[in-house]
Symmetry: C3
Subunit: 251 residues, 3 copies
């Protein structure tokens, strides 16, 4: 179901049962998997010298909400979900079921794992490496230039299961481990070890995340969050988490 006002290139490879909203533009270099939906006012598949002839490939069962802009030269696994007005540049390689919140801006030349959730207005600089099951909250910026402006780009690395809270900046080349929590409004200039909390400007390590309790009165530890937060993940992954957490109760 392609809206009659949408402009879809005959060269675009569109799967079965695709919806495309009003006033959207689909350029030549686009491959969209079956059962996907693209909202209104989008521009999808802008080709540039940086995309170097490569297409934009979007997996099946994806949803791109209105006013979003994707360049050619990126690959997304199945079940990509975006908010409104996201911008995604060339060279972004993302796994399964990435969620990109409204207004987020992915600058390209970056790698994003499976089941990553980027909330609203997140900025992912070039050369970033984001693991699996990572959460990044509103107004977080992953930077890359240690001496701005320069041609030396040192991407950040964010480990699996880590959560970066609102309005934090991760400085160029910093590696944040797995299962970490970065507090709101932090400026992270040094590496953070697995399972640690870091917060402040400049950010300091404040101890293990297992020290933090849920605020629901249960008295249970809030981390690893895989013990209690399962919304939107596939059943087989939740089962695997349960097994891992049972085997390793204070991981």
């Amino acid at each position: 179901m392609i809206h009659p006002t949408a402009i879809v290139s005959p060269a675009a490879k569109i799967g079965k049962s695709i919806k495309i909203g009003a006033f959207s533009i689909i350029h030549d270099k686009v491959e969209i998997g079956d059962e996907s939906e693209i909202g209104s006012h989008c521009e999808i598949g802008i080709a540039t010298p940086l995309s170097d002839g490569s297409p934009l490939i979007i997996g099946a069962h994806s949803t791109i909400r209105s006013h979003s802009i994707f360049y050619a030269g990126s690959i997304f696994g199945d079940r990509l979900v975006t908010g409104h007005r996201v911008t995604v540049r060339e060279g972004t390689h993302a796994g399964l079921n990435l969620q990109i919140g409204t207004l987020s801006d992915i600058q390209g030349d970056c790698t994003i794992g499976d089941y990553v959730r980027l909330h609203s207005n997140v900025h992912i600089g070039k050369k970033s490496v984001v693991g699996n099951f990572v959460w990044i909250f509103p107004y977080v910026v992953l930077t890359n230039d240690p001496t701005p402006p320069s041609s030396t780009l040192l991407g950040c690395e964010i480990g699996d299961y880590t959560a970066v809270a609102t309005m934090s900046v991760v400085l160029p080349g910093v590696k944040i481990g797995q299962h970490c929590l970065i507090g709101a409004h932090a400026c992270v200039g040094k590496n953070v070890a697995d399972g640690m909390i870091a917060a402040g400007i400049p950010a300091k390590t404040l101890g293990p995340t297992s020290n933090i309790q849920l605020r629901d009165g249960s008295g249970l530890s809030a981390y690893p969050w895989t013990t209690h937060f399962h919304r939107g993940y596939p059943e087989e992954i939740i089962k695997q988490w349960k097994k891992e957490n049972d085997d390793n109760p204070l991981s």
Copy 2:
């Protein structure tokens, strides 16, 4: 005056003397009061399971500027004014003459009083409670999840007449009183009492707002701001403020 390229559902309830701009979409579940104007490239009234069959209700004499997106299931009083590219999700309940600046993102399930001004690029998290006559400046985030990610959402409360300056974060569950000033680039993790200044990371209370003088050479106190700043408020409200401030000169 509905632009011929606009797509307006016949089920939408459109008042008298409404303007709708080019390339805008008005869905079924929309009620717009008389003498309102909707700019170009908007998408108004997106229905979802979260809107639960409820319409988007927008009061009379409202202006929604171009590229804005409103979901169904929210209510706005008369004289709503927005900038460009605002996003408003389901369950937002706002009073009279709310102003929402360009790029601001209201996540829904929140309550906003009368005559509130949100400047550009403000993020209002779910469960937020914003009083009357509040000012929130660019890049401020009202958060809600104390242990991200989790299912425990603790909204912030911002009291009447309070101003929250640029790039501040209010942490989950924090209550900021009436007539407060939150300094720029603050991270507010504790409640703030009425009439106080708080600033810094983490934010500390720095004394009463009445200590701050206007920078116009008058030597007058800058707070309560209702003593000197009246632009855009109705005459009867300005009269009431004058009476209150005369009765209570250092309030």
Copy 3:
């Protein structure tokens, strides 16, 4: 080449060899120089009482990317380049080859020099004065109201060649000198002398920028950045920089 869905006022003054994308709107009070390109879904030349009858003037060889919004009453030199979804209000006066990143918001009544680069999501408050060759990185806000809300607007000044890193706030009336570096996530409340680094909340001066080495293993100083970073500048300017830096090796 004007796309057949674009709506272009016959009163707009459009140069030679102009491209205008699908679903874009060009209002009456617009003058666009030769060989320029405007992307899709833009709204260009919105007239208001603040634009006071003045047109939007955009120099030749300019590129405005999709979903951008410009008001009437501003002037841009040749080779303006924007990202997507920029917003520019009335009374903006900018020199040659300004680059405005995706989502940036220029509030108007401001002056911007030649060859300025604003990265994504930069907010330029009214009354700002930005010099030549300045770099401003993502999520930086230049503020103007010392006692919000008030009618006293004190603009910031940013000197030539200065770089302001990600997520920094410059407080009202602050003057940052030439060839400075403002570190990421800073809140700058005091003036910064020429050639100095300032960082932190509140920002403190940390010494001369010449102390900072490039991170490319060369051992060379990273500042002035004109010694090593030339991408996108005209040949004659690069020659002039080389002469200045040769004459004054540690400037």
